[in-house]
Symmetry: C2
Subunit: 359 residues, 2 copies
């Protein structure tokens, strides 16, 4: 089977060699030596300062909402993985959807102001497929309306925007290190803050508020990453350049063919941003074509995935009655094709020939 993604795993001996240190320390979680080392290395690789690694990529969204004191309305995108919306709802806030841009698939900033009410406290939006939102426009709106900005950067490992890490924008940025992601720690994630004071507050939040063993500094839950996760990160990290280079080659094969095809749309990546080749999304002219392509691929044991479907404003628990025509249309027409380190060029060419023969 060729799946939409396949977890990159370093030789298990390399993982075990690192993990041996945790065994020697008899220390398996609670900010152990491996986690501290992983954070130091990520700080260098990504060019980020105030951040920490977490047990998954969703808890950072929840913690950000709590830490920023948000309790009412949050402007958000309907085109993202479900976690973007579900974190808002889980934290008892109301997601207010604003439609996306047709070409970048990120939030349409020209429509944000119309959605702002006296209850709006924040903007929580996704750099979808690693493609940055219109960060400058969002900064202007946030300042004008006194809103907090949280970026769901789940797909953004290694993305740079205007000369620095994309995680350095907004009040809080998050990333996912889930095993389906470019870089991973099995399950995992991280959260990034520009402000050191906020960083300190949030660090407490992620470990029960512990301030030493017998004192507590505010409310907290558990979002700690373990040494099992940190060891995976340390074992995967040295391969990242090779992984990204290989994915770039595969994406170029895909895109070179798609650019010559009628009725196929590719995501337009924003100027000033580097690409990390985390996904291979392709947009068909209608859902019928998508379903035909999906079936033709599945018949050959190739499994693409409808990232992101359905449009999040249609989830039954959000009670949104506003239509999001662009997001709803894109959601029905977009398919992510297989893309991973071990995928072969011949396999990409096979996928391309199936698609070409189907549409």
């Amino acid at each position: 089977m060729i799946n939409v993604t396949q977890t990159f795993l370093p030789p298990i001996e390399e993982y075990t060699l690192i993990l041996n240190r945790a065994w020697r320390n008899k220390w398996i979680t609670n900010r152990g030596e491996l986690l501290i080392e992983l954070e130091a290395k990520l700080s260098d690789v990504l060019g980020v300062e105030h951040f920490f690694v977490t047990t998954n990529g969703t808890l950072p969204l929840q913690i950000a909402i709590k830490a920023l004191g948000i309790t009412k309305e949050i402007i958000t995108t309907p085109f993202s993985y479900v976690a973007t919306t579900s974190s808002i709802v889980w934290e008892n806030c109301t997601p207010v959807f604003v439609d996306i841009e047709k070409e970048t698939l990120t939030i349409d900033c020209s429509k944000i102001e119309a959605a702002i009410t006296s209850d709006t406290e924040a903007i929580l939006v996704t750099h979808v497929f690693g493609n940055p939102c219109d960060i400058e426009a969002i900064a202007v709106l946030a300042k004008k309306h006194n809103l907090k900005v949280i970026y769901d950067g789940a797909h953004c490992f290694n993305v740079q925007y205007k000369g620095q890490s994309i995680f350095n924008y907004g009040d809080v940025s998050t990333v996912s290190f889930h095993s389906t992601k470019l870089f991973h720690t099995g399950e995992g994630g991280a959260m990034f803050m520009r402000d050191k004071v906020l960083y300190d507050k949030v660090l407490y939040h992620h470990n029960f508020g512990h301030n030493g063993r017998e004192k507590f500094h505010g409310l907290g839950i558990n979002a700690k990453a373990s040494e099992l996760q940190a060891a995976m990160g340390l074992a995967v990290l040295p391969y990242m350049k090779t992984i990204i280079e290989k994915r770039k080659q595969l994406v170029e094969i895909y895109e070179n063919v798609f650019r010559g095809l009628e009725g196929i749309q590719l995501v337009r990546f924003r100027e000033g941003a580097t690409r990390n080749y985390s996904y291979m999304p392709v947009i068909f002219k209608d859902e019928g074509t998508l379903l035909k392509v999906k079936k033709a691929l599945e018949d050959k044991d190739i499994v693409p995935r409808r990232y992101f479907y359905p449009s999040l404003n249609t989830l039954d628990y959000v009670h949104s009655n506003k239509e999001m025509p662009v997001s709803e249309s894109i959601s029905k027409r977009i398919l992510c094709l297989p893309l991973y380190y071990e995928l072969k060029e011949e396999e990409v060419k096979l996928i391309l020939s199936i698609i070409t023969n189907t549409i």
Copy 2:
């Protein structure tokens, strides 16, 4: 250094041998083969049916509160690890504290009714140190006042009450598999439900509400355990009998001495419950004595821990102005002494002689 606890680690080769299967599957999370196997084995070992393993022991408390539809007041214990209270507050509910029994250190059921208001929706209490609450009294109160019951069973691995797993009581029970616990998966936990319908609902909640790839069944976040965690559980599980037997021997050495000492109180374990020897708590006659003992031990590089201090009703974020005299008094006087598999009898005797010479 002799710490209050030390993580039990199986030979790393045994861990790696199991983990090899995840490598072969290229499957590191999302209910993989190892997790399913761990759950099957735990089902046998513990005698439980509707449950699943989670990434830590706190998310199950949060999920239980949401799944049971609780939004207002929750009766709870002030004598527990902070997670019991912080989960309630994080989920925007109000903790209403009821003091504990002097001898069992679990909630004093004779005082629960006085704390019930029209906003009370649930009782969330801890089987502290693996010692069951007065389960029958709580069941009667819950039925009379139409309250949900959540048991924080963080310390309760392997505890049986009246012939069955303690996790089979209440609407939801939780456990922690943190690396400081009797049985562990690094970080980890599990949640147990008596009702299959509730189990299904909660299983969705812990994985974003996913119902297949493209459908969602209600709200969800991420509480998934990875194969890295499951492999640890599978590697530790075969040692549990040996571990518990060894801890029992050490506890008996401690308790035999303490029973003959003036001014020392041991926890009274409830009749009908088996013990799992997860902690070695000892209560001194006053805080001054505790601090003297703590210092005398620390001078010899022995690190006990003030489990549980402070009394949770005194946390600054709970805004509770009711005094909890028993819990506040016990919190100031209770110390957990070193107890772990590799602790030697001579070390226990050393600890005992330091205490005997200090009090």
